[in-house]
Amino acid sequence: MTQPLNEDQEQFRAVVDRFLTDKSPTTQVRRLMETDRGYDAGVWKQLSQELGLAGTHLPEIHGGFGFGPVELGIVAEQMGRHLYCGPWFSSSVMAGSMLMLGADEQGRESCLPGIASGESIATLVLDDLTAPARVGQHIHADLLSEGATLSGHAGIVTDAHVADLLIVVAGTGTGRGLFSVAPDTAGVEITPLQSIDPTRKLCRVNFEAAAAIPLGELSEAAMEAAWDYMSMALAFELIGSAQVLFDSTIDYMKMRVQFGRTIASFQALKHKSADLLLELELAKATVRQSAHELANGGQEPWLCSMAKAMAADACMSVARSAIQLRGGIGFTWENDTHLWFKRAKSSEVFLGSPYEHRERVMQMMERSVA
């Protein structure tokens, strides 16, 4: 059963909300999304060092806060709410979770403290963004007596252009391994790409016999667990975005007058709003529960995938309606709605489309019966 936040968690949420309200208003989002780097180093420093958000869920022994998925979700929800521009998701959620769950002791010790403190910005290089089982087919590792070299490419990697550290999943012939690579290593090529959502920067990453440090073999279980963490956090981002869009749209309808009455008084729009509320509430409940499931290792391991699929669908429904119900103004650049719409559209397919995640749910359900 979904728990309401306890007092500490509520306070934590409020702190993050206040911080981002202050540091990530849409004026700032609009400024940063037009830049190449895409984030503000000062805000990143405050966020990671003053608030410790880069290490929310990372182990205390590696410099993190040692919080669990619930608190990670709290942060992610606010990130989606305020459309934070910066490497938080890439570094803390993706690279951080993968290291925490998949790296060997030495790998965790060498990489996580920097990530947790925010001093080192990392990103996770996955050569497939659709499903965990497909990762590791386009980047291959040659293991040497000491170290390894990586060859291959990843078509879409978030924030690689500002990363101090690339965490890479690569095929090893016998399985998959986790590796770290410094971006300035010979044989590493990072090419910024244009993205549909300018608040999340994307790159292509090529390796040509690039020297890498092995961080251990990556078990299927660890890969799946990391995918759950990332999916869950992305689902929280999505419901954060969806909620702010939903609320602002209802507010707009109550203010906007046509034909001598507020458009909120038109029954067709009232019913549409009720439909959206329903879809959003069901998604929110599932997303919140997925964090508890992940924290407690419950009976429904598929909840993270279910949550990502529902959150993406709900957020896209709300985003589409947020434009439609505003009419022409909602389609303008000047209006902020499109910022969230684009984040939603991009997040819909990032780390597995709803379709991929539903298929994953089914597979997990079948395994649990077998």
């Binding site: 059963m1 529960q289 749910v361």
Partner: protein, 420 residues
């Protein structure tokens, strides 16, 4: 006494009383007379009305002890609970005295006479006539959707006593004796073949002056109590203790009472779409291996899971004392409609041409067929989806109410002429 001590005291008292009084070989009626006399039939009711003035929490402790000892409780099935709560809230001392005890003992069954062919979503549009003539009320009109009316001894009735007042002000609430020549109950068959409801025709039916409740013209306020009790019921667990396999006259008679009470509801699980059967059916037919069907199944299970979690979340928030802004009932009801429709679709897809069959020739002895022709009810009964969406948009989202076209004297308001 703190909470724990209080609970222990209650447990001790009720346990002692049970061991002194419980006898499964009595008739059900005789046992319940003892139960009422002992004050344990409805501990949350006031002491003046067979109760003990317990809080809901305290009363639930009593229920628990009864269940532990497998002791049969007061009669509670059907609309009698609605009648009892309404009488408790609005009834005169005389009415409480005359009706409440026999509700608890099960001697009297009740039915609800609110909906009419011409006023469904718009309950306050009732046009059943109540005229005060020679010291008694004469009732003429037709009611519909009256579950268990054919077993009922009394009905709670909403009727119009004044046609010149505005709609909500001309209604009066009555307790009507169903065993009289002016009242005719006819079963109403549904498209799925069941007849869970009745129509009730009243022709110069009589209600004594002392069976008006809540005052002339105050019917809508009284009905609001009944409706809120009904709504609370929607989210409650319908399951009651079956005492299956136990012997004793009380148990036998209780089970017969339950059987009759549950008769109208046998198809209710089907109208909800039977999501519980989806995976096993898909395995059975092999449809589970089809990537498209898999998507549809997970969509359905996701809605179901989300709705369960949202309901549990609302309950937890309420318990935690957070201000509840969501009318959980309306959202749960709307979700239930969508889930049922989706489930019917997925069941159809899973069954393929076999979905053309019915009854014993079809899958699961007709259960699947019954789903397909029962699901349309869920988005209508107890308030249509459209009404729920009005409620959600107006009460949760605080959007403006619909403009009203039914102000002024009821006589002048547009309404259905025939039984449209």
């Amino acid at each position: 006494m703190n909470g724990q001590e209080r609970e222990a005291a209650i447990i001790a008292e009720v346990t002692e009383w049970i061991s002194a009084n419980w006898n499964p070989d009595l008739s059900l009626q005789a046992w319940r007379e003892i139960l009422v006399d002992g004050g344990w039939a409805a501990p949350a009711w006031p002491e003046a009305c067979h109760g003990r003035g317990y809080t809901e929490a305290e009363a639930s402790v009593v229920s628990r002890v009864f269940r532990q000892h497998q002791v049969v409780g007061a009669a509670s099935s059907g609309p009698r609970g609605l009648a009892a709560e309404t009488i408790l809230a609005h009834g005169s001392d005389d009415q409480k005295k005359r009706y409440l005890r026999k509700i608890l003992t099960g001697e009297h069954a009740w039915c609800q006479l609110f909906s009419e062919p011409g006023s469904g979503s718009d309950l306050a549009g009732s046009s059943t006539k109540a005229e005060f003539i020679d010291g008694r009320w004469i009732i003429n009109g037709q009611k519909v959707w009256n579950t268990s009316a054919h077993h009922a001894d009394y009905g709670i009735l909403l009727a119009r006593s004044d046609w010149d007042l505005p709609k909500h002000q001309g209604l009066t609430y009555f307790l009507i004796d169903m065993h009289q020549p002016g009242v005719e109950v006819r079963p109403l068959r549904q498209m799925n073949g069941h007849a869970s409801f009745n129509e009730v025709f009243m022709t110069d039916a009589v209600v004594a002056a002392e069976d008006m409740i809540g005052g002339i013209g105050n019917g809508w306020a009284v009905a609001a109590t009944t409706l809120s009790v009904e709504r609370r019921g929607f989210s409650r667990d319908r399951s009651v203790q079956s005492f299956a396999g136990l012997s004793g006259r009380v148990y036998d008679e209780y089970q017969e009472e339950q059987r009759i009470a549950n008769e109208p509801y046998t198809w209710y699980p089907q109208r909800a779409g039977r999501v519980d059967l989806i995976l096993s059916r898909a395995r059975e037919t092999g449809a589970i291996n089809d990537p498209h069907v898999r998507q549809e199944i997970v969509r359905l299970l996701s809605m179901r899971k989300g709705a369960d979690l949202a309901a549990a979340g609302a309950a937890a928030m309420k318990k935690a004392g957070t201000n509840e802004v969501i009318p959980a009932g309306s959202i749960a009801k709307l979700a239930a409609s969508e889930i049922a429709r989706k489930a019917a679709h997925v069941h159809t897809m899973i069954s393929g041409p076999e979905a053309m069959l019915a009854g014993s020739d079809s899958a699961l002895e007709g259960t699947i067929a019954e789903i397909l022709i029962s699901v349309p009810a869920i988005s209508i009964a107890g308030g249509t989806d459209e009404i729920q969406k009005n409620i959600i948009s107006e009460r949760v989202l605080d959007m403006p109410r619909e403009p009203r076209f039914d102000t002024g004297p009821f006589r002048d308001i547009a309404r259905n002429t025939a039984d449209t």
